[in-house]
């Protein structure tokens, strides 16, 4: 099997790795780069635990959320990627992460890295999202603990904090 030399910029750090064609981005981040905040849940794009942001110049917000379990690493050469670890700056949590802590949007914590990444993208895309839009927007990220009420509360609180800052 061919090996591909690729460069990934993850959370503003450059990684040079060799990957095989069938290696997923999720697998490379977890097994080769020790970025274990990106979780393996279903491996088929249904649960959202592996969600990351990928920079995309065609997007109005400059980046978009994808499932890293369905992305082949070899196709990601040169891409800029953000995981939950890279959401905040200078060791601080971003508004979404802080709101999840404050509102108990976290119970077991397994879905949280994907949930905060997705919620960040959701609020970047639609800063004025209504509760209905937040609930629709969060589809594709499954939580088996909270029953989602606390998660929706967290996103609403983050939305307030972000809009206040503007």
């Amino acid at each position: 099997m061919s090996k591909y030399p690729i460069t990934l910029n993850i959370n503003d750090q450059e990684y040079n790795v060799y990957v095989s064609g069938h290696h997923t981005l999720l697998q490379v981040m977890r097994d080769q780069l020790d970025l274990t905040e990106v979780k393996y849940g279903c491996g088929r794009g249904e649960c959202g635990a592996c969600t990351v942001l990928v920079d995309d110049e065609n997007e109005p917000t400059g980046r978009k959320a994808v499932d890293s379990c369905l992305m082949l690493a070899a196709m990601m050469d040169g891409k800029k990627i953000t995981t939950s670890r890279g959401l905040g700056k200078n060791g601080q949590l971003n508004e979404v992460q802080q709101a999840f802590v404050d509102e108990s949007g976290i119970q077991c914590g397994f879905c949280t890295p994907g949930m905060v990444v997705k919620s960040t993208a959701l609020l970047e895309n639609n800063p004025k999202a209504t509760e209905e839009e937040i609930r629709f927007g969060l589809e594709g990220n499954i939580c088996r603990c909270t029953g989602y009420v606390k998660i929706v509360d967290s996103v609403k609180k983050a939305q307030k904090a972000i809009n206040k800052k503007k």
Binding site: M1, Y4, H22, A65, G140
Partner: protein
């Protein structure tokens, strides 16, 4: 054992031009899968179903276009994501059926990866974009060793996951006819949660003139081995004013054209019961 965490091995090929992609597909004919967004190909791989070679279109520049003109209609490139199509203003205003089938497809993440062309090419009987595009009378453009070829979507779906695509051809574009005066469309589907695949889906495209239905195209998915047109139901509408009694006659005509099965998402009985209602509601939505 294949798992969804570690995929089975395959050789990934990343051509940088369509000409190279066509050559590679010819070279590995029968042993290669063409991949656009990957949301279906990778999920199949997690279940152990994958060819020795995968040809990705990701490195070919300029395939992610969605172009619209009043006279020429809509053209969707092979790498245009569901998200991009659903966020194109003219798709929403001129082709509501296609807009909805793309906007509700999967999740935000998979819409950012999966493509409309891939959704159609997969030819799942429950595919949402294929259903909408069958009603809209789309055309699929292939590139291959014999050059480009265009096929009407009416001739594209042949049987369960079987299509008119030849083994050495790559779908490069989908064309949707220019919107004509009085043309309305709608798409709807039944699912348990929105990210599920459809239990059943329906799309209609009607040409209306002073309240009279001049022509109709009605498509349904997950009620037969392939996405189908309901020609008998179309004939019920043609030349008629859409009244409650015509809609009743239309609903009565639906069942005889379906051959649904029991599967993990629904039962044949449910599908037969609900399909007439869904078609009726989709028409009501289209004509507003």
């Amino acid at each position: 054992m294949p798992s969804s965490r570690i995929l089975p091995e395959f050789e990934l090929l990343l051509p940088e031009s369509m000409a190279d992609a066509v050559k590679l597909l010819k070279k590995h004919k029968g042993d290669a899968t063409v991949m656009a967004g990957g949301t279906d190909v990778i999920v199949s791989a997690t279940q152990g179903f994958i060819t020795p070679y995968v040809i990705s279109l990701a490195k070919i520049k300029g395939l992610d276009y969605v172009k619209f003109s009043k006279s020429g209609g809509l053209r969707i490139g092979a790498m245009a994501t569901l998200h991009k199509v659903a966020n194109t203003k003219e798709v929403e205003t001129e082709y509501p059926a296609l807009y909805k089938s793309a906007a509700i497809n999967g999740t935000y993440q998979t819409r950012n990866m999966g493509t409309v062309v891939g959704n159609v090419l997969r030819a799942s009987p429950s595919g949402d974009c294929g259903c909408a595009l069958l009603a809209l009378g789309a055309k699929i453009v292939f590139d291959g060793p014999r050059g480009k070829r265009e096929v009407s979507i009416d001739d594209f779906f042949i049987d369960y996951k079987k299509t008119d695509r030849k083994v050495d051809e790559i779908a490069v574009e989908i064309k949707v006819p220019a919107p004509k005066k009085g043309v309305v469309s709608a798409f709807s589907r039944i699912t348990r949660t929105t990210l599920d695949l459809s239990k059943i889906n329906a799309a209609v495209c009607l040409t209306m003139d002073k309240g009279i239905c001049k022509s109709a195209r009605i498509a349904m998915g997950a009620v037969a081995p392939k996405t189908i047109r309901l020609i008998d139901s179309e004939n019920v509408l043609k030349g008629q004013k859409i009244t409650p009694s015509i809609l009743e006659a239309l609903a009565a005509s639906v069942g005889g054209q379906l051959s649904p099965i029991d599967d993990v998402r629904s039962s044949a009985e449910y599908r037969l019961d609900v399909s007439p209602v869904l078609v009726k509601r989709t028409i009501e939505e289209a004509i507003g």
